[in-house]
């Protein structure tokens, strides 16, 4: 399922790009409005923080009394018009103390987190960037520091520095610096692997510049989130310290010490504990919510993308379609398949338009196209694994089942015994914490109802069939112990375990080396004959199609532009796109001047031309091409199919 999610991402990413394009450098006011609209919780939290800071700043003006003004005559009074929240054992006004407590809380927490940012972040970034011995020594030191409970650590620091607002902030700041250091170092370790950092080094930029100008802006998001969460922790830690009578001086009004006083009178005046308790809770919650909503806002968990496009009402109310009469050879029939997503700007965008296609037993069909052509989405639709955010119409008939509309449980039952799938990244498709054997044997027990021994025997047989040497021993290995080629063989074995009638292979060899690719393609060819199954080979490489396929379906911008026998299409393409793609594919031949190219790029789904979608890049375009959508006639979608003669040279 993680793979399905990945697919989704790659499908919707153009939408993300458009969104960023649309929001390029908005004016500040607009930006705030967008924030409020898109992230109401984040906006509310920011407003809450602003309010808290304002109270802290204006405490002297807002408080009706001096927070330390003793008034023994009015000690331990309940709430009244004079003392809104009552008074404590020395007759000090609790409301005033609460306001001044906010001041203390804000002062200490911001100071300590600020210190953590100023010390922990640069140190962490530097240590992560330098790596090696620096990293190892620094990490062991922080390990030791973090093995001491933070409260005890803070005690120790206060014991040395003495009590007071600044001293407490420093004590907590040291604890938090270590936390921040670890986080910044972790982020740096990840960021350091990215090529833009290498590019900056090769560009001759100085280390401080690379750290703070190049990398810091890219890791600022997670650091800000962490800082917000730490503000909450800071309030907790500081109130805890003063509740225990440590940290702040007795004269400093503070929520923790208020709570401590309330504790002494909890039987007589239970109300006393309420204001400071609620204040602490509210402040901590405020910062935690802020952290969480910032995380959502900054790290791109976009709710909009998850909104589903409402199904076309006509399609929903249409009478239940009946499976077409298929001849004995036909395994799968795609009829008028359309798939749309909702772009983040809210407009529907059709990524697949009117796909119709039959697959027969024993044949290998190449589904070829560039990125953005919709070839992978077509494959996912066939196995009934379109992401939830997609809306679709048309049919994918696998026998009597429409994989497109069948309930999820029904479609899942077909996957395995009737249709199976192999993905591009074999090692990523396997769980890293289970042995390859476990991952193959258990589904087999489940699907075929075999006993453990019987299933194990079958798995070993299958692995031997796909050419894994020492299969009986290798089932005890973990995926990382497999090479890419061997892992892909294992995935193929897994896919074939229930003898499906059809296999969808999505770029099965793109991540493999050429020598291994040749072997895996050969294996797929052999298995398709042996199992008499239909294979849909999704690929970007016409060479692979030529090596391994009987028929080819060429896709461009969500449409099939040409279908035919491989020998026919590759020798004499009828669509200018197929022709151009063939010419642009590098051949293993001596260079002969400039390489033929296709000008421009594949248009994004929200920008498909009205007429022929290839027209803007086509060398043979004429006016008729741009007027209306072109139909697929006799296996080719081109207005000029009859008149063009597109011979590919020897």
């Amino acid at each position: 399922m993680t793979l399905a999610a990945e697919e989704t991402e790659s499908v919707i990413s153009p939408a993300g790009r458009q969104l960023r394009q649309g929001n390029k450098a908005p004016r500040p006011a607009r930006r705030w409005m967008t924030l409020i609209r898109r992230e109401p919780l984040a906006a509310a939290c920011l407003a809450g923080i602003a309010l808290l800071v304002l109270i802290a700043l204006l405490a002297p003006a807002l408080a009706p009394y001096d927070p330390n003004n003793n008034d023994v005559l009015n000690r331990l009074k309940g709430p009244s018009a004079t003392f809104w929240l009552g008074t404590d054992e020395l007759g000090r006004d609790l409301f005033s103390r609460l306001l001044y407590g906010a001041r203390t809380a804000v002062e200490t927490s911001f100071q300590s987190v600020g210190m953590a940012l100023l010390i922990g972040v640069p140190l962490g970034l530097l240590i992560g960037y330098l790596g090696g011995w620096w990293d190892r020594v620094a990490m062991r030191v922080t390990d030791i520091a973090q093995s001491i409970p933070s409260l005890i650590f803070a005690f120790a620091v206060i014991a040395i520095l003495g009590r007071g607002v600044n001293q407490t902030a420093i004590a907590v700041g040291i604890v938090f610096s270590i936390i921040m250091l670890r986080i910044a170092r972790g982020l740096m370790l990840r960021e350091r692997e990215l090529l833009y950092v290498d590019a900056a080094r090769v560009g001759g930029l100085s280390t401080p510049r690379i750290l703070f100008r190049e990398i810091l802006p890219n890791v600022a998001g997670p650091l800000i989130v962490e800082a917000a969460l730490l503000l909450g922790s800071a309030i907790m830690l500081i109130t805890m310290l003063s509740f225990l009578g440590l940290g702040l001086e007795a004269s400093t009004p503070d929520w923790g010490s208020m709570l401590d006083e309330a504790r002494k009178y909890q039987v007589l005046h239970p109300f006393m504990a309420l204001p400071p308790g609620l204040a602490i809770m509210a402040a901590v919650l405020l910062f935690n919510f802020t952290g969480d909503s910032l995380r959502d806002a900054l790290m791109g968990r976009r709710r909009v993308a998850h909104r589903k496009l409402r199904q076309d009402r006509r399609a929903r109310n249409a009478p239940k379609a009946k499976a077409p009469v298929q001849d004995a050879d036909t395994v799968l029939t795609v009829q008028g398949l359309r798939v749309s997503y909702l772009s983040e700007s809210g407009k529907p965008m059709e990524v697949l338009s009117d796909i119709s296609l039959d697959l027969h037993r024993g044949e290998t069909v190449g589904l070829v196209g560039e990125s953005g052509s919709g070839k992978s989405t077509t494959g996912m639709a066939m196995v009934g694994l379109l992401p939830d955010t997609a809306s679709s119409s048309g049919h994918v008939w696998l026998g009597d089942t429409d994989m497109l509309t069948a309930p999820a449980a029904e479609a899942a039952k077909r996957r395995g015994p009737e249709i199976a799938m192999v993905f591009q990244d074999p090692i990523g498709s396997l769980s890293p914490v289970h042995t390859v054997g476990q991952q193959l044997i258990e589904p087999m027990q489940h699907h075929l109802g075999l006993g453990k021994e019987e299933a194990t025997r079958r798995v070993i047989e299958l692995l031997e069939m796909v050419g894994i040497p020492n299969a009986a021993q290798r089932i005890n290995d973990y995926p990382h112990q497999f090479s890419g080629g061997m892992a892909q063989r294992a995935m193929i074995a897994m896919a074939l375990s229930c003898r499906p009638k059809m296999l969808v292979a999505d770029e099965p060899t793109s991540a493999l080396d050429v020598t291994v690719q040749a072997q895996v393609l050969k294996l797929l060819g052999r298995l398709s004959t042996e199992f008499d199954m239909a294979v849909l080979l999704v690929t970007h490489d016409l060479g692979v199609v030529s090596e391994a396929c009987d028929r080819v379906v060429v896709m461009y911008a969500g449409e099939i532009v040409e279908v035919g026998k491989v020998a026919d299409v590759l020798a004499k393409p009828r669509h200018p796109y197929t022709y151009a793609l063939l010419k642009a594919t590098p051949r293993n031949e001596a260079p002969a001047g400039r390489l033929p190219t296709i000008p421009g790029t594949v248009p994004p789904p929200w920008d498909f031309p009205r007429g022929c979608r290839f027209a803007p890049r086509c060398a043979f375009v004429k006016e008729a091409c741009t007027i209306a959508p072109v139909a697929l006639v006799d296996g080719v979608r081109c207005v000029r199919a009859g008149e063009l003669s597109l011979e590919v040279g020897a």
């Binding site: 394009q21 590019a199 080396d513 051949r587």
Partner: protein, 272 residues
């Protein structure tokens, strides 16, 4: 003619499974005794599969990894002797284009920023001159100048790779290390970038170290080819000689494994 770049007996060993105790960590020889030369203006193709060490060789030349043995001489200067600070003059002369333009451009910087900071760093030009040069660079890679104020995420893969090339050209290098520069691109964009690289090489007399797993691509851009397998060179020679008369068994295997566009002809023959 002396070579622009001379790599001699280069070996690179990685430590795997780090341990604090010296001598306890395991090691992995990524590159074992590799030697080759690149002349000024020459295109050298470095071919190999994953794990062949080809990328590591490129990174050593760029001083992104430390060689454990051997010498790398650029323009007569020993690159391995530079110490921890790489001289700016070397950074000016040797530049890089990586495989994945998406991650090789800083997502938080506009194209203008990305180019300007390299220009400024190397030439310390006044602002208006920096801007002029940035626009000129974009023109060199055939991108309209309105892209200057865009962010990388707003460009297509091919456009991003053009920006990466423009950035590499900014210091006016003499050697360009291209590490799989077209592998992440679609076929139609791939040939555009390959043509651009050929044009630039001709116009600027650039030398290329062209690292790739794709034999068909390497053949289009190289004068000389080095074939690597498991960290060692199995064969090197003039490009066409390697492709037409491969000597090593491994080279032969590699060449025969490349999916051929006209494979259907062979298969049709077999089936008939």
């Amino acid at each position: 003619m002396t070579a622009l770049l001379q790599v001699k007996d280069l070996a690179i060993t990685y430590r795997t499974g780090g341990s604090i105790i010296p001598g306890r960590s395991r090691t992995f020889d990524a590159v074992k005794g590799v030697s080759f030369d690149i002349a000024a203006g020459q295109g050298l193709g470095l071919v190999g599969e994953s794990g062949s060490g080809k990328t590591t060789v490129g990174r050593a030349i760029l001083r992104l990894v430390k060689p454990s043995r051997g010498s790398i001489k650029f323009d007569g200067q020993e690159v391995t002797a530079f110490g921890s600070n790489t001289p700016l003059s070397f950074r000016r002369d040797v530049q890089v284009v990586f495989q994945d333009p998406r991650s090789s451009l800083n997502p938080r910087r506009t194209i203008r920023d990305t180019l300007a900071q390299v220009i400024k760093r190397h030439f310390d030009t006044p602002d208006d001159e920096t801007q002029r040069r940035a626009a000129e660079l974009l023109d060199k890679v055939q991108l309209p100048s309105y892209h200057l104020d865009r962010y990388p995420s707003e460009l297509s893969g091919g456009q991003q790779q053009r920006v990466a090339i423009a950035r590499a050209l900014a210091p006016q290098p003499r050697l360009l290390v291209c590490d799989e520069p077209v592998s992440a691109l679609d076929v139609s964009t791939q040939s555009q970038i390959l043509n651009l690289l050929s044009d630039l090489r001709r116009d600027l007399n650039l030398a290329y170290l062209f690292i790739s797993h794709d034999l068909a691509v390497v053949r289009q851009v190289s004068d000389f080819v080095v074939v690597m397998h498991r960290g060692a060179i199995v064969e090197q020679g003039p490009c066409e000689t390697i492709y037409t008369e491969p000597q090593a068994d491994y080279t032969k295997l590699l060449l025969s494994s490349v999916p051929a566009l006209d494979a259907w002809k062979r298969r049709a023959g077999l089936n008939a």
